[in-house]
């Protein structure tokens, strides 16, 4: 097996190893793919609570009065109207409209007490930091901005933990304080895609109602030093209701059922947000940002391949790169596939020609040389508000 000695380690690395985590190289980090079985960790999350170490995600902060205006010039959604307790999903695109990354933006205050922040994919962290720093001088010149603006990467000094599942909020109901002495931070009252500062044992933490599993839940950003204490407390509380620590394997199946795109699979620099089905995260009106004009053209282009969902017959799992066929002609390619525990069948996301995208279209997926019948289904596959 590959040496994992050169990989980055999260503050929870020793916990993972001590608890049977199978460590793999994920974007240069040594991360647990599973502790028990992917399926058990999957069901723990769907039915109770899964606790995920996501410290490998990149965490950036932006300081300076012009932070919001600068971010507004590089992401596909408006940042200037983001409230200091709001989180927004958006994309960073290049000049050609290709996706450099999909990110979460955290609203800040102009005085910097709450800095604007961005969470990026582990695989893109260095690329995005470099790219943003490249964009900065030109933007400052263009917009006649003289105020200092700095971009900080706090990934290695902090940790990030996702607590996901229908019992996540109840498990954490009295876990964080509003300030060092006051009552519990009201997570139940926190709206989806909002965040707040809370306290754990006197240390400030950021808690957001966000996630990547299709379940309700929160994500916590804390200092590296207190990560293990927070993690231990949450895993213990989760165990009381049937929850458990869960690895990247379960996380991938969960996000796939929820049709959430993954960079390197559904998203890349060769894909634009419109064809990825992310038009909701592209705001073209009355604003300018890198790639905007190209995206405006893509937004009316009906000829490009589009992201779809497939139910596949049989038991074989379609993998990234499997050809998708219609009447024996290749019309696209799978980007992610898994065996869905909820639907008890293989599912996949793929990009196909627009003529093959309609729900109900009968297609086939070539899995290692054998064709398997498939049907286009609506995305997401799994919606917790709906009976699946």
């Amino acid at each position: 097996m590959m040496s994992t000695t050169d990989l980055l380690r999260t503050p929870l690395h020793d916990w993972h190893v001590a608890h049977g985590g199978r460590m793999i190289d994920f974007a240069g980090w040594s991360m647990p793919v599973q502790y028990t079985s992917i399926t058990d960790e999957y069901y723990a999350t769907r039915n109770a609570v899964g606790v995920f170490d996501i410290s490998h995600m990149g965490r950036l902060q932006f300081f300076g009065t012009a932070a919001a205006a600068f971010l507004d010039s590089v992401v596909t959604r408006r940042v200037t109207d983001l409230k200091p307790d709001q989180v927004r999903y958006g994309l960073v695109c290049n000049e050609l409209g290709g996706i450099l990354d999909d990110v979460l933006l955290y609203g800040g205050t102009a005085d910097g007490v709450r800095p604007y922040a961005m969470v990026v994919n582990a695989s893109n962290r260095e690329k995005i930091v470099d790219w943003l720093r490249e964009q900065l001088p030109a933007w400052q010149q263009r917009s006649s901005q003289r105020d200092a603006l700095s971009i900080g990467d706090v990934t290695l000094q902090t940790a990030m933990i996702a607590v996901q599942g229908r019992k996540a909020i109840e498990v954490l109901a009295s876990f964080f304080r509003m300030d060092s002495s006051a009552p519990a931070l009201d997570l139940g009252g926190m709206r989806y895609y909002h965040y707040d500062r809370g306290y754990f044992a006197g240390n400030g933490v950021t808690v957001s109602r966000t996630g990547y599993t299709g379940e309700d839940g929160i994500e916590i950003i804390c200092d590296r030093d207190i990560a293990t204490d927070i993690w231990d407390g949450i895993v213990e509380a989760a165990a009381q209701v049937g929850g458990m620590a869960a690895g990247l394997g379960a996380r991938d199946t969960l996000r796939l059922e929820a049709a959430m795109p993954l960079y390197g699979h559904e998203l890349s620099e060769a894909i634009n947000p419109i064809q990825a089905g992310l038009s909701f995260a592209v705001n073209l009106s009355g604003r300018d940002f890198v790639g905007r004009d190209v995206l405006e053209r893509f937004s009316v282009d009906k000829t490009q391949p589009v992201r779809i969902g497939l139910h596949v017959e049989g038991k074989r799992v379609p993998r990234q790169g499997c050809p998708v066929l219609q009447s024996s002609e290749i019309v696209g390619e799978v980007t992610s596939g898994t065996f869905s525990p909820t639907f008890e069948r293989p599912i996949a996301m793929a990009y196909v020609r627009p003529t093959a995208q309609a729900v109900g279209t009968r297609l086939a997926v070539d899995i290692r040389g054998t064709q398997h019948a498939a049907t286009v289904v609506p995305l997401p596959f799994y919606d917790r508000g709906r009976k699946n």
Partner: protein, 130 residues
């Protein structure tokens, strides 16, 4: 079956060789180490009965949630039986890898492949080094 009485391939198959009416038959399965490493199995494609296989040829595929793995024939010959109960009961592979979890029986055509197999102690050593 007691793994100490089996032979093992580098690629994590086990083999039990018996003589039946002057003919040597190899029963082949996956080791507990391999099954444990795969986890979350969803599919097995058994070889066809009657298929001629050569040593170290992929003759079966097992698929887990995360990946597809080949199972290699440890010895050359003809596939004369496959474990038909596996496809619908993949948990047998982990419950009893050296017994009910057998995959196929091969009528040995050429015994040369057997020389490349190791005993249980050597195989365990290999696993510890991985």
């Amino acid at each position: 079956m007691n793994p100490d009485k089996l032979l093992f391939a580098k690629t994590h198959e086990w083999v039990a060789v018996v003589s039946e009416g002057g003919q040597k038959i190899a029963t082949v399965g996956l080791t507990s180490f391999a099954v444990e490493a795969l986890t979350d199995l969803v599919f097995i494609e058994l070889p066809k009965i009657g298929r001629q296989v050569s040593a170290e040829e992929s003759f079966c595929e097992v698929e887990s949630v995360k990946a597809v793995s080949d199972v290699y024939a440890p010895v050359a010959g003809e596939v004369i039986a496959v474990n038909e109960s596996l496809p619908d009961n993949l948990e047998i592979l982990s419950r009893d890898p050296y017994g009910d979890g057998w995959i196929a029986r091969i009528k040995i055509g050429d015994e040369a492949g057997l020389k490349n197999l190791m005993d249980h102690a050597a195989y365990q050593k290999q696993c510890e080094e991985q």
